[in-house]
């Protein structure tokens, strides 16, 4: 199984994607390795969502958190899902549930929050990368909507960086499955 992109590494990827100068120091805390942003003045920030949202604001790319109230809520919901479900689960059963959830959600959407690219897409991509790498061709096709979304996000400028390019075959094998 490929190593999961976790904590500090993920936040550094996000920093680069946002075009921030970097230089932030990250640490991890506790048994579940919750990321912490250390700062010189004050207590610092704890938790992936908190730090990510902070970085987005720092880069003045608030649109990544959603524009309308509804979008903001959806972004929040998927970030929460990312932290609690994707990070929490590791069994095959959990993975299947996550992919199924996403597949249903993405059926009528291009991005997680609908028509705009948001922080939810970025973090979900980083969170799912190690799962997608290990999927078989059949599974990728079974979760077709996830595959399409994933392939789209990994081609979004600046997102993939050093992560491996997950290959999706162009011709479907089981065209009658849907």
């Amino acid at each position: 199984m490929a190593a999961a992109v976790r904590g500090a590494e993920e936040l550094e990827l996000l920093e680069r994607l946002l075009g921030l100068p970097g230089g932030n120091k990250y640490g991890v805390q506790g048994e579940r390795k919750v990321p912490v942003l250390q700062s010189n003045n004050g207590p610092g920030l704890t938790g992936l969502m908190t730090i990510a949202a902070h970085l987005v604001r720092q880069a003045r790319k608030e649109q990544l958190l959603g524009s309308s109230a509804e979008e903001k809520a959806v972004v929040q919901q998927w970030l929460e899902y990312r932290v609690t479900r994707v990070n929490g689960g590791s069994s095959k059963e959990d993975t299947r549930t996550i992919l199924k959830d996403l597949n249903v959600h993405l059926e009528d959407k291009v991005y997680l929050a609908g028509n705009i690219f948001t922080l939810a897409d970025i973090l979900m991509y980083y969170g799912l990368h190690h799962i997608m790498v290990d999927l078989t061709v059949q599974e990728k096709e079974k979760y077709l909507n996830v595959s399409r979304w994933f392939n789209h996000i990994q081609h979004y400028p600046g997102v993939r960086q050093h992560l491996s390019d997950v290959v999706f075959i162009k011709n479907r094998l089981y065209t009658n499955a849907h």
């Binding site: 059926e107 009528d108 028509n115 077709l144 399409r148 979304w149 789209h152 479907r172």
Partner: protein, 224 residues
């Protein structure tokens, strides 16, 4: 390539299958390819073709920026699965939607009102033109008149040339320019009204003084 007839259910199904694993018609960003296909579809695809519908709604969200999307619109036959032909519009009417209208002059879409307005303007323009005294087009011509030999009396030659009178012809200054071997040519300026005097007529009249003039050229011709 193509989607068949995009205005039919079968064509939309091809589009739906095509978009199942793609977010856009081409590449990973919205482009003119999407707009081209989007505009070929009359109404949102039905709900059971959810891939096509998802795409349709997504492209619709770009409607305001559609002119600024990257890429160049191509014929519908350039998009879509390789094994399907484009037949959109082939059966319905003769509108050749495959053509890219480079000049944006789409006569078919000119509404009745616009047409009427245009005709009115044309008529107005015509009547104005006929009433207004036409601007008299004039030209300034510089003529070179060459004598037979060095013994030709240039003063007499100039007098002959200046003796030519015609409506709309005014002679101007003149000078003698040496050509060589003691021969000089007469360079003379005149202003003519284009409608009344032509260079052919001038040439004919000047060369008529056979005793003095060997030939005549137009050295310069300027519209005033």
């Amino acid at each position: 390539m193509g989607f068949g007839d995009l205005k039919s259910a079968a064509g939309l199904r091809v589009l739906n299958d095509f978009l199942a694993d793609k977010s856009y018609i081409e590449g990973y960003v919205p482009s003119q390819a999407d707009i081209a296909v989007f505009e070929a579809i009359a109404a949102p695809p039905p709900a059971d073709l959810f891939h096509a519908l998802r795409w349709y709604n997504h492209i619709k969200s770009y409607e305001k920026q559609k002119a600024s999307l990257p890429g160049v619109k191509k014929a519908l036959g350039k998009y879509g699965p390789a094994d399907v032909e484009d037949t959109t519009g082939a059966a319905t009417d003769s509108k050749d939607d495959d053509d890219i209208d480079l000049f944006g002059s789409d006569d078919e879409e000119e509404s009745e009102e616009a047409k009427k307005l245009r005709e009115e303007r044309l008529a107005q323009y015509e009547s104005k033109k006929s009433k207004k005294p036409a601007v008299i087009a004039k030209s300034s011509i510089l003529l070179d008149v060459k004598p037979w030999d060095d013994e030709t009396d240039m003063a007499k030659l100039e007098e002959c040339v200046r003796s030519i009178q015609a409506d709309g012809l005014v002679w101007g200054s003149s000078k003698l320019v040496p050509v060589g071997y003691g021969i000089k040519k007469l360079q003379i300026q005149c202003v003519v009204e284009d409608d009344k005097v032509g260079t052919d007529m001038l040439e004919e009249r000047i060369t008529a003084f056979e005793d003095y003039v060997q030939s005549m050229d137009v050295a310069a011709f300027n519209k005033i």
